[in-house]
Every structure is written in C-alpha cells, then in structure tokens.
Amino acid sequence: MEQQLVQQLPSTGVGSKLPHLAECVYLDYNATTPIYPEVSEAMKPYIYELFGNPSSVHAYGQQTRAAVDKARQQVAGLINCSPDEVAFTSCGTESDNWALWGAVMARRGSSSSSSSSSQQGLPHVVTSQIEHPAVTACLRSMAEQGLCTFTAVPVDSQGLISVTDVVSALTPNTVLVSIMHSNNEVGSLQPVAAIAAAVRQAAPGCLVHSDAAQSMGKVAVDVQQLGVDLLTLVGHKFGAPKGVAALYIRQGVQLANLLSGGSQERGRRGGTENVLLLAGLGAAAELAQLEADATAAHMRSMRDRLAAGLLAALPRHLVRINGPQDSALQLPNTLSISVKGLSAPSLLQMLAQKLAASAGAACHSSHGPAVSPVLQAMRLHPDYAVGTLRLSTGRHTTADEVDRAVTLIVGAARKQGLEFGSSGSSSDTANGTAAH
C-alpha cells in the first residue's frame, strides 16, 4: 500500500491531501508548545487516582497538597527564588493583570489613607510599546477607569528598549515599571536587569515587573540576577499544558488581590488549585532547568538552519531579518523574516495545512493589512511589515521539518509572484537593520 502511495506522489511528498498523512510542519512554538511526554507522565496520577482538594486535611487532600507544593518548588528552582514567592495563576494574562492591578491598587490603597492623597495624583506605570496585550490592554482599561496613567516607551529598530528612556519616563507617581523579558514576535531580549537596577536608583519605591512568558525554557531567567519584584511565567510556552501560569512576587512586595475568595496561595489568590495542570507546570519547570543548554542549542541550530535556507533561496535584496543583530540579545528559537512584495497572511493562509507559523500582519478586509504594533513600534516599513513571517523552532523541531518549511515558503512566494530574477542590492536600510 505504501509503495503505491509513494509512486502516486511527487518526490517531495507535497501533493494531494491524503487522509492518513499529516502534512503540517510546526514552526510556531512561540504561540504554544505541545505538552512534553515527561510532563504528561507527571500529570497522569492526577487524572486517574489523586483527585483530592489540596485544602482538605484528610489523606486525599494531603496527596494533592504535596503535588502543589512540589510544583511550587520546581518553579522556584527554575527562576531561583523561594517557593513562598511563587503564586500560581490560570494564565499569563492573569499574571500580568494581577501585577499591574495589584501594584496600582496597592499604591492607591496606601495613598487614600494619607492626608495629602488629593495632591499626589494618579499612580503611574511605565511600560513599552511592544508589550503583550495582557499588559497594554490592561493598562488602557485601568487608565480609562481613571485608576492610573501610563507611559509606553519606544523601542529602536531592533526591538530593544533603552534603559535611559525608561528612567526618563519615571515620575514621582510611578508605582510600577513593566518591561517584557523577551519579545514574542522578534525575540529581542530586553535589558531587564539594567532597567531594574536603574529604577531602584532613580525611584526606590517603584516596583519592577517583567513578563517572561516567552523566555522560559529558552534562556536563563534568574529573578535574583534580574532584580525584579514581579515576574510572569506561562506554562504552555515550555511544554506544560495551557491554562496554568505563575507570578513571582518578591518577598515583602504588597500586591492587592485580583481574585478574592478562599485562602489559597497564602490568601493572595482564591480558587481551588488546578492540581492536574500544576503537576504539569512543575514537571516542565524541572525539565527546563535540567535541559536548558541542550534545548537552547538545538533551537538555535534549527533557527539558524531555517534562516540560512530562506536567505539562500529568496531574493536577497528583498529580504530582511528583524530583531537584534547581536544573537546574544535574541531568543535562540525566533526568526522574524520580512520579504518585500510578499503577503505573509496570504502565504500562511495558502499553506495553512502544511506550515504552522505566524505573520507580522493580519488580513483586514476594509483597510488593508493590519501590521502588528511591535513591527510598527520598530518602524518597519509597511512593505516589509506585510511580508513578515514569524517562525519559531522548538525542542522537537527536526532538520527535515526546517528544510521542508523553506521549500514550502519559497514555493508559495513564487506563486505570489515574487521576483526571483534580479539580484539587486544585498541591503536595504530604509528603516533600520539590513538583512543579516
């Protein structure tokens, strides 16, 4: 049977859809990761046997209480903090919202009891123009409700934030600086440690939060080294299931509760613990710590292979790679590549059954493509922004998948009418970084 099928198909295997074949290559690890087998293994007892409420004092509760405590230790081990400083949440959005809301409301609570509260002004937050919507949308919502004001500092053409810009944005009312550890679209690693140190000096009472959702399992994240007060980490970005995350809260930091209810999470976040998912989060954290170097090296190798393949096959004068030129300032797995003249949303639509990746723009029927705020903040020319693909490798990516992705992308680019004939200039500095 297989012999017949091989004879019917073109040599590349790309052809008629066959029901018993999976065609789709996954290069969207920044969107989410599969649950790793070791993580699945760790979760199984909590599906079948161990179901007690961790708040119960009897044997059933003790077993699941132990699982929650173990997960807390495993996460603490990954980011180098005390288990008491780890608070579990349902997702990265909850962690980010809690950090922002909690810091602002804690300050409002303390200033309302002050006799000079009317003169102090609204709490102020400093963030960046490339944060995840879980930060920016939350701040916008809080500002619209008159709870705070905020300043979003710009980034340079490489997607990097300047420490000076952050410090310049501080005001006497600034209660929180929230800067992401790494950017999900272009992979730029922000100078969070330098920012935290500068903020401590310029505004000693101000808290520092970092959304490290994209960094876990890819680069080292040590909260002591970073000097942050709050840090978000998200399970489904590094092999844990979706629906579980954590917020690191440095000992001594006062945050107002986002969820009020039972006394779970030391009274900071009510709600029965999701033991099943927490077991997975803990296992993923332990795995990330154990395999850090090996996984990062593999991701980088696959990413570099992908970049080299695309740069060799696509018209060089039309291509640029976005993000920091210094690879040490970039996530090892992220490739943001722009092709002038290409429509990335259309390409991904065409290849939807064969290639899983993301675009730097979305199709928008009435006003044309909607370019991502990150690429806009980097002042990437719209001609390149529309043609931006975000490809992200992972722990399980193979070289064959990378090579196939290159073939698929180049083939689809040809079908869009991309001009492969002329060589042109090898660089285009219209908006910053040249192809590298």
């Binding site: 590349t12 074949l21 999976a22």
Partner: protein, 95 residues
C-alpha cells in the same frame, strides 16, 4: 558506576523505545537527545556526576517506556509527509 557494556545496553534501549513512538517529532527527539546525552556522558570523568546521570537515565527510560504505550494508544495513527519523504529517499538510495 556503570560498566561500558551497561551504558551501551541502556543506550540501545533508549533507541529501541524511541522507535516505538508513532509521533514523528517525539521519536526523532528521543533519538537525538539520547545520542547527545550518552555521548556527553561518555566524555565525563566525574564519577558522582556519571552515577547521577546513570540513575536519571534509568528512570527516564521507564518514563519513555510508559509514554510509548500511551502514545500508541492515543497518539494520531497517521504518518507525516516527512516520513513518506524519508521512505522514498531510502528506497531511492537502496535502488
């Protein structure tokens, strides 16, 4: 401290259990990771580190053995085009 023969045997067991996974990505991951890890173990002269890695490897093998059964039960039963390409390439090479 495991003997060289024991290490080789364990390594082969890893490769064998890796082949049992129907999932293309997991199968390749286990093979790649096993080779990398065992090669680095071979170069390690620290007895305590080798012993710790040995114990870890034995428990990891049990994890893979159980998971291979689960993946065979619940994993998708389809091949990927990459496997088809590899089979075609192997036939071409053999022919």
């Amino acid at each position: 401290m495991p003997s060289a023969a024991e290490v080789k045997s364990l390594f082969r067991q890893f490769l064998r259990v890796g082949r049992k996974f129907p999932n293309y990505n997991i199968r390749h991951y286990i093979q790649r990771r096993s080779k990398d890890e065992f090669h680095s173990l071979a170069a390690n002269t620290d007895a305590a580190a080798v012993e710790a890695a040995w114990q870890r490897a034995k428990s990891q093998l049990e994890v893979w053995q159980r998971q291979s059964v689960v993946y065979q039960l619940y994993g998708r039963k389809v091949k990927t085009v990459l496997e088809l390409d590899q089979a075609a390439a192997a036939r071409q090479h053999a022919g």
